[in-house]
């Protein structure tokens, strides 16, 4: 029986995500009482999204593959790992066998945490459950244990929900979002780093007085805000350094610009297909807690990103990311797909510094160095996950894929290393635990003080 079940699972997985994912999502949607016709339509949409991702991934590898080879040959810069950005990574995660189980267990964890008053956050941002599932998929791929993968996902979900609680008062005050918390892993885990960095900079004379005007930066660096312009500029630069001829340089520029514009749009199609399911779950959670003003609604970081200081800092960091990728020894990833998404990473750091662009920029640099090295280290595992779900790699392409920010997320990497029994990762548990505990206490104290003076 067990053997047969395993055979069925393997057969379904073997169909590849374009067929397998629609089947899984259709079943899940029916379970959550989505209408059959709607469930069917959205399931098919998801499969189509994947077809689109393959097509554009092909354009990316056809252009960037030879370019990175020419780069190492003609300039000695070796950055062979491809940065797909978070959208394809999330698509791959949704197709991983662990994902549907993580959705269910995250809902369960959230309900239990609220019941026992361990959290105030009702995380209705179902789409971002993929962040938890990806942690589980990494652990599952590295340890071959589905159970460990599930435990990893569960721990990550709990930590992120707690982090969302911690920064909620600051989020509500500074971003002007009453009643809201932001359990988006790719932002929340950098809040403690931001608080710590802010405290360190406080102690450095000179530096602690610096400020910059977000509006001026937005005007001067605005070009780095548009994905297609980032792709174009990077492509042209890459072509020049790789010693392409003019035709080659211009073509690489246009093609990378195209990938930056089109690849996320394909993931959007997949996203459209997930909507009815996420809507159904959202409604169940909303119905369960009607009008509870003591609870926070957990949303995507999208509601906070329009802060001028967040945008300005992200614009400043974008060219720096490319310089760091070339300069940092041991880095093998060329930032591209995630290059337009630095605002997501830096938003909670900006919150921790209360909108100080200079401070956030300084704190952002070591974070990006860490992200680059982690994204490099995690690339083989990400590539394995992609292959395990039968993600189609173009014929002849045997390089590695990763993502600068979400592959490079240090928190998820830490969890992965803990589950692999890495000594340093284990030793870091009490160390980081103590530092975060101290930071939580200090932010609470500061908040109380502020209340008194009011």
């Amino acid at each position: 029986m067990g053997n047969q079940l395993l055979k069925i699972v393997q057969y379904v997985l073997g169909l590849g995500p374009t067929v397998m994912l629609p089947i899984v999502i259709f079943i899940l949607a029916i379970c959550f009482r989505v209408k059959v016709t709607k469930a069917l339509r959205s399931a098919i949409t998801i499969g189509i999204g994947f077809v689109g991702i393959y097509a554009i991934f092909g354009i990316l590898t056809n252009n960037l593959g030879p370019a990175t080879q020419a780069l190492v040959k003609n300039s000695g810069i070796n950055l062979p790992v491809m940065d797909l950005g978070w959208p394809p990574l999330s698509a791959i995660t949704w197709a991983a066998p662990i994902a549907p189980f993580v959705i269910l267990i995250t809902i369960l964890i959230n309900i239990i945490m609220i019941a026992f008053k361990w959290t105030k956050t009702v995380d209705i941002d179902i789409w971002n459950y993929w962040h938890f599932a990806f942690a589980g998929a990494l652990v599952y791929s590295a340890t071959n244990s589905f159970a460990l993968g599930m435990i990893a996902s569960a721990i990550v979900a709990v930590v992120v929900i707690k982090l969302a609680d911690w920064c909620a008062p600051a989020v509500q005050d500074y971003f002007n979002l009453p009643g809201i918390s932001l359990p988006t892993l790719s932002s929340a885990v950098f809040f403690p780093i931001g608080v710590l960095g802010d405290k360190i900079i406080d102690k450095i004379p000179g530096l602690n007085k610096l400020k910059a005007d977000p509006e001026t930066i937005q005007k001067k660096f605005g070009v780095f805000g548009e994905p297609m312009m980032i792709g174009l500029i990077l492509g042209v630069l890459l072509g020049i350094v790789a010693k392409y001829d003019l035709k080659g340089i211009l073509n690489l520029g246009i093609n990378l610009g195209a990938v930056m514009l089109i690849l996320p749009r394909m993931v959007r199609i997949l996203m459209e297909g997930l909507l009815p399911l996420s809507d159904a779950i959202k409604k169940i959670l909303q119905k369960k807690y009607p009008g509870r003003s003591d609870l926070y609604i957990g949303l995507d970081i999208a509601v906070a990103i329009g802060n001028p200081a967040v945008i300005a800092t992200a614009l400043l960091l974008t060219p720096v990311a490319v310089l760091l990728a070339v300069a940092i020894p041991g880095n093998r990833i060329l930032p591209l797909g995630d290059l337009a998404n630095l605002a997501v990473m830096i938003s909670m750091v900006v919150l921790a510094t209360k909108g100080n662009v200079i401070r956030s920029f300084i704190i952002g640099i070591p974070i990006m160095i860490g992200d680059l090295l982690v994204a490099t280290a995690v690339a083989p595992t990400v590539t394995n996950i992609a292959k395990s779900i039968k993600f189609q790699f173009p014929a002849g392409y045997n390089g590695q894929i990763s993502s600068f920010l979400d592959g490079g997320n240090p928190f998820r990497f830490w969890i992965l290393k803990i589950f692999q029994g890495n000594i340093i990762a284990l030793v870091l548990i009490p160390v980081v635990g103590f530092i975060v505990y101290a930071l939580v206490k200090s932010t609470k104290k500061a908040a109380e003080k502020a209340n008194v003076t009011l």
């Binding site: 978070w86 959208p87 209705i124 789409w127 971002n128 971003f175 002007n176 979002l177 009643g179 809201i180 977000p214 509006e215 937005q218 605005g222 780095f224 805000g225 548009e226 994905p227 996320p264 749009r265 993931v267 959007r268 996203m271 459209e272 909507l275 996420s278 959202k282 409604k283 909303q286 609604i297 949303l299 995507d300 970081i301 999208a302 509601v303 906070a304 990103i305 329009g306 802060n307 001028p308 945008i311 992200a314 614009l315 337009a340 998404n341 605002a343 997501v344």
Partner: protein, 94 residues
């Protein structure tokens, strides 16, 4: 009549899709034909003046000619109906 809307979120992919689906469906019911695009916040200045309305999930840190509506109620679900009606009113006035 055909109306053009720009939907804005963090990266122009996830949350803006949620809002876009809801708004376009509602507009269709009310007989308004909507054509739309999605983008991230930092791309927004290049779209200014090319649309009838900008609907953003977040604060828009630019001074723009095009009218901007905050879509937060659609994401949280509280005040969703009222906002959708308001959007339809704005589009009909334009």
């Amino acid at each position: 009549m055909k109306k053009k809307i720009i939907f804005v979120c963090a990266t122009g992919i996830a949350t803006s899709t949620v809002v876009a689906e809801k708004v376009t469906e509602y507009c269709k019911e009310k007989g308004i034909n909507v054509e739309y695009q999605q983008c991230n916040v930092a791309s927004l200045p290049t779209f200014d003046g090319n649309a009838d309305l900008i609907i953003s999930t977040t604060n828009v840190p630019y001074k723009l000619e095009t009218k901007v509506v905050n879509a937060l109620p659609i994401i949280t679900g509280f005040g969703e109906e009222e906002l959708l009606d308001k959007i339809v009113d704005i589009l009909k006035e334009e």
